[in-house]
């Protein structure tokens, strides 16, 4: 029995070799320790995988009240320069040029084959585009942006900022006590706002399937700000473990697992994120492949899977058809605390990707029956005004 063992699911990048001393710390590190966080290396940072309540309780609390997450390890970048929206559009398939200010766009950096280098949020403002990048990818993303943008564009990493997420059905009620304006913000919008005396850049977005906010705050004010939120009885701190199970149930991809350089957005069932206005002329890396895949569909596709019984089906499990042939692989999977069933994502041939299709997953040599299922596995509860 090795209680620390098994495969950790939120490991990103090459953190395995990191020693404690090499790990970076977010501005909330001391608070995590004070709250009893169990710290693990994640994308080069020393991060809380859970607090004393444990992943199950944290997960359910976020779905029933409100959870506070430290996501300061993620990259926050401002891209500035003349005609910056058009410049950024050469690297990703969103429509920034015609976008309202503060409208968030889920998008991807792509390689020439249409493979996903990272998934990200890009939000145009009056004189810059603000991006939030995955922690494990942020350095390579910044290098990619600098190499791909015109020389008169500037890529500024906001290393002095923390990023907090407040998620759950009570998030709006909690935060609007500090700033009433946040109650009517629409899903996928972002604005600058002073909250409790702290200059914040706040968005109504998240990675849990719940209503909620992500709030960028100056690092030196982050701990006081987090304490203010945690002082509300409805709010509990949530670690990376529950963050992973929450996003999985919400059907949201984890970079490096469900999507990577070898998957295109079309294979990943993320076609919705290729802006309609970019589909005629392309003009982003891998455009010819991606536009062809939209027209012709792809031989394989990312799907949701629900297991019968209780056995979690995890990343790496092979998927076999009725004849016993291996036809796909699971890319994320666990027991869904709210779905109350094993839930997973994986890739299957298109002819086996219809919801309701029966498939088997091989877990420790045993075949476990699963069904292709629509995602999300739990109802999303975004605020659309």
């Amino acid at each position: 029995m090795s209680p620390y063992g098994g495969r950790a699911h939120c490991h990103e990048g090459s953190d395995v070799t990191d020693t404690k001393e090499d790990l970076a710390r977010t501005p909330l590190h001391a608070l995590h320790l004070e709250l009893g966080g169990r710290m693990v290396p994640f994308a080069g940072y020393d991060m809380p995988v859970q607090y004393p309540d444990g992943i199950m309780t944290e997960h359910l609390h976020c779905r029933s009240a409100a959870g506070l997450f430290d996501v300061s390890h993620m990259g926050q970048v401002r891209v500035k320069g003349p005609d910056v929206r058009r410049a950024v559009e050469t690297l990703l398939p969103a429509d920034l040029v015609n976008s309202e200010e503060g409208r968030m766009h889920y998008s991807f950096l792509l390689n020439d084959k249409g493979g996903i280098l990272d998934d990200l949020m890009a939000t145009p403002f009056s004189d810059h585009v603000f991006m939030v990048l995955n922690a494990a990818c942020k350095q390579s993303d910044i290098a990619h942006l600098k190499a791909g943008l015109p020389a008169d564009c500037e890529v500024v990493e906001e290393n002095d900022k923390a990023l907090l997420a407040l998620q759950g059905p009570e998030a709006a009620a909690v935060l609007s006590e500090l700033a009433p304006e946040v109650a009517t913000m629409s899903f996928m919008t972002m604005r600058d706002l002073e909250i409790a005396g702290v200059p914040c850049r706040i968005s109504r977005s998240g990675y849990t399937g719940e209503d909620g906010y992500e709030i960028s705050v100056p690092g030196d004010q982050a701990e006081a700000f987090a304490r203010k939120l945690l002082a509300d009885q409805r709010v509990k701190p949530i670690g990376l473990g529950a963050r992973d199970s929450l996003r999985l149930e919400a059907g949201l991809c984890l970079y490096g697992h469900d999507i990577d350089e070898t998957t295109t957005p079309i294979e990943a069932a993320l076609t919705w994120a290729i802006a309609k206005s970019r589909r005629a002329d392309g003009g982003f890396p891998g455009d010819s492949i991606i536009l062809k895949q939209i027209a012709e569909k792809t031989p394989r596709r990312r799907v949701g899977l629900i297991g019968e019984g209780r056995a979690p089906v995890r990343e790496g499990a092979e998927l076999v058809n009725a004849a016993g042939d291996v036809v796909g692989t699971v890319t994320s999977g666990s027991y869904g605390p709210s779905a109350e069933a094993p839930v997973a994502m994986g890739y299957l041939p298109r002819e086996l990707s219809e919801p309701g299709t029966e498939i088997k997953a091989v877990v420790r040599g045993r075949e476990r029956p699963m069904k292709v299922a629509k995602m999300p596995f739990v109802e999303r509860r975004y605020y659309r005004g």
């Binding site: 199950m56 209780r310 666990s334």
Partner: protein, 125 residues
């Protein structure tokens, strides 16, 4: 009269004659967190010391339970398959995993008693 032994893999082994009942310790269940699934060996299976005997899974990860001693599986606890939460609630009693007919009781000499195990886990924190 039974005596309980402990392994450095955080299993308890309650021995009565050549019959042993095996489960995971309270320390182990605390480290694992909420158990959502337990996979037990088939009755009649012969296990050698060190073999993978069972699997216990939390939301986050799957962990193997290895046979701390050799023997044949005589009974498994279907209740923890039905209600994995029992492993968290009562790991060292109702949350037992399986029973073995010991094939070599001298293997018990390599295990710890309760006092030694307590010391062992204190050294881990």
């Amino acid at each position: 009269m039974s005596k309980t032994y402990y392994s450095d893999e955080h299993e308890w082994i309650a021995v009565d004659g050549d019959n042993a009942t095996i489960g995971i310790t309270n320390y182990a269940q605390e480290q694992l967190g909420d158990v959502v699934f337990v996979e037990l060996p088939d009755v009649g299976k012969s296990l050698s010391k060190g073999d993978e005997a069972a699997v216990v899974e939390s939301v986050k990860a799957a962990s193997e339970v290895y046979a701390a001693v050799s023997g044949e599986v005589t009974e498994v606890n279907g209740a923890v398959e039905e209600e994995p939460g029992k492993v968290n609630e009562d790991p060292e009693n109702e949350g037992w995993f399986f029973k073995l007919k010991l094939s070599d009781s001298s293997e018990l000499d390599a295990l710890m008693d309760e006092a030694a195990y307590k010391k062992f886990i204190e050294g881990l924190d």
